[in-house]
């Protein structure tokens, strides 16, 4: 699906941007993620947007005015709201509120942390994230999962090595062509994940790409080389 300029029209740039920002619902995010695995154009846009977001995060953040929270609170008071929205959970300054306030709620903790220390230059902030042991922990977890996916792919490739000689030349060509596409999707996703350390979006896309390859290989094992475009595991193919 592409416009005259060659851009994919499945998702707008705003939608892709919202995906990178983590603003989509889980269902929408899943749909964009799945689309990105098979669409090089959107994958490239996602990669660029992720890089942009990563760079933007390194910028120094302006100090919110000291009156901001009081203003938000006052705004909340003026609205008719259920009793529970007025609660401050656990009395620790956490928030419950309406739409506009939620943004503040999500950012308040980091804002407070930011206020406690002198503003750090962008480079220092980036270095701080890069050397944070929690980031290394998270990346190690993702790497372990990626290794598990790759291990399963290797197993399936081993099984296919037994089946492949029985395929026709056309089947082998189709198989190789599809494999190239899947490997390209994995490479793009891996690049996206590498460019955005500490961001689960890239890794989720990488895992989705691995999953597609596993589904394809498993289907090829069962079907003996006669698989469809759906990439689904076997149904009734092969039965009389």
């Amino acid at each position: 699906m592409a416009d005259p300029a060659g851009h994919c029209t499945a998702y707008s740039i705003e939608k892709l941007s919202a995906f990178v920002d983590g603003d989509l619902s889980a269902g929408d995010a899943q749909a964009v993620r799945a689309h990105g695995v098979g669409c090089p154009r959107c994958a490239a846009v996602l990669s660029d947007l992720s890089a942009l977001v990563s760079a933007a995060r390194g910028l120094d953040r302006p100090e919110p005015p000291p009156t901001l929270w009081a203003a938000v609170e006052g705004s909340m008071e003026r609205h008719d709201r259920p009793w529970w929205m007025a609660l401050r959970l656990f009395g620790t300054g956490a928030l419950a509120g309406a739409a506009a306030v939620s943004v503040v709620a999500l950012g308040l903790a980091s804002w407070r942390a930011h206020r406690a220390a002198a503003p750090a230059p962008a480079a220092v902030a980036i270095a701080a994230v890069a050397t944070d042991p929690l980031l290394a922990e998270a990346e190690a977890e993702f790497a372990r999962a990626a290794a598990a996916y790759e291990g399963s792919i290797e197993k399936l490739r081993g099984l296919l090595a037994r089946e492949e000689p029985r395929w026709s030349a056309e089947e082998r060509a189709l198989y190789a062509e599809r494999l190239v596409q899947l490997d390209e999707a994995i490479a793009r996703s891996r690049d996206l994940a590498r460019r955005s350390p500490g961001d689960s979006t890239g890794n989720e896309q990488l895992f989705a790409a691995y999953q597609q390859k596993i589904t394809f290989l498993a289907a090829a094992v069962h079907r003996g080389g006669t698989w469809g475009e759906d990439g689904r595991p076997p149904r009734n193919e092969g039965s009389p």
């Binding site: 309406a98 939620s102 999500l106 999962a145 069962h222 149904r235 039965s239 009389p240």
Partner: protein, 351 residues
Amino acid sequence: MIRAAGLLALSVGLTAATPAWAADPNPPNPPNPPNPPNPPNPPNSPNAASSGAGEAQLVDRREIIVPARGAEMVRIENLLGRVGIRGTARPGEIHVVAEKRAPSAEILGRLRVHYTSFESGEVQIDTRVELGGRERSLPLAGSGVDLWLEVPPDVAVEAKTFGGDVSASGLRAGAKLETTGGRIGISDVRGGVVTHQLRGGQRLAAIEGDVDLDGVEGDMDLKNLGGGRVDARLVDGSIHADDIRDDLVRLVTTTGQIVLIGVIRPSAHYDLRSYAGDVRVVSSGESAPFELRARSATPLDTALALRGSRRDGEWLRAEYVGRRPAPRTHAALLELSSALGGVVIQVQPRE
């Protein structure tokens, strides 16, 4: 549109006893009966606990009632640990117990739990870790958050973990569970069930609804399923299914065994396939007549008397007419295939 949002600012608190069902060491089993919620813990008293690795950890446990009037869907994303869901809450509220653990108070303070309530009737609950001034949904090895939820039975549930086990029970509007490396356990659920898993194994029991299971590594154990359809796909692991009453039963694995125990039902379609493992059907009662299509590396091993056996390429075709032929009974279709293993049809001895 967002209706409400909150941040469970779990600072530090006393470790209280985790509810018995939440502390179940084997979540894929049906959870234990509920315990009454514990009272909230007093703040500012971090308590040291020992992690599985022997390293002392701080544990902070909090409870909250999330208002969920009109909620139709609850989505939980917790890449930081386990998720356990039970459909036992009163209508209009979700009871959340969040238990954070970390090796230091500094890291404990960087673990967050959020909820967001949308006008659409969706409630989202997720966990994050503060990293570089931004909260991120990430898995960690040395720290984590476990979430134990009681939701109204009639809300649909979607839950996602990374390495943590995820379990659901007592739900009446279906469940979708996804995990990378945790175990999946689902019991006593009505409505559609969908799972996705990289590894860890899945255990399902007492489901009334369509079931769609997807796994790469780990065994699947299915018991007492009834609805319209069971579709289980696995790459590396065995599938054991007992007492399946669906009209369409499709169990597929690449390297493991498939075992189906139960009665072959009239008109049902059974499609059991393994590439490298055996496929075994154990008839545990008065099975309906069926048409058999079988393919295996070794000769078919059957304890049921078949008739009309003939070859059709790699496939063997035959019929089973039942012990007491009933002309009006619609035959089932049994497709059993193992490229490298055997196909076995057994009869379970009566007790």
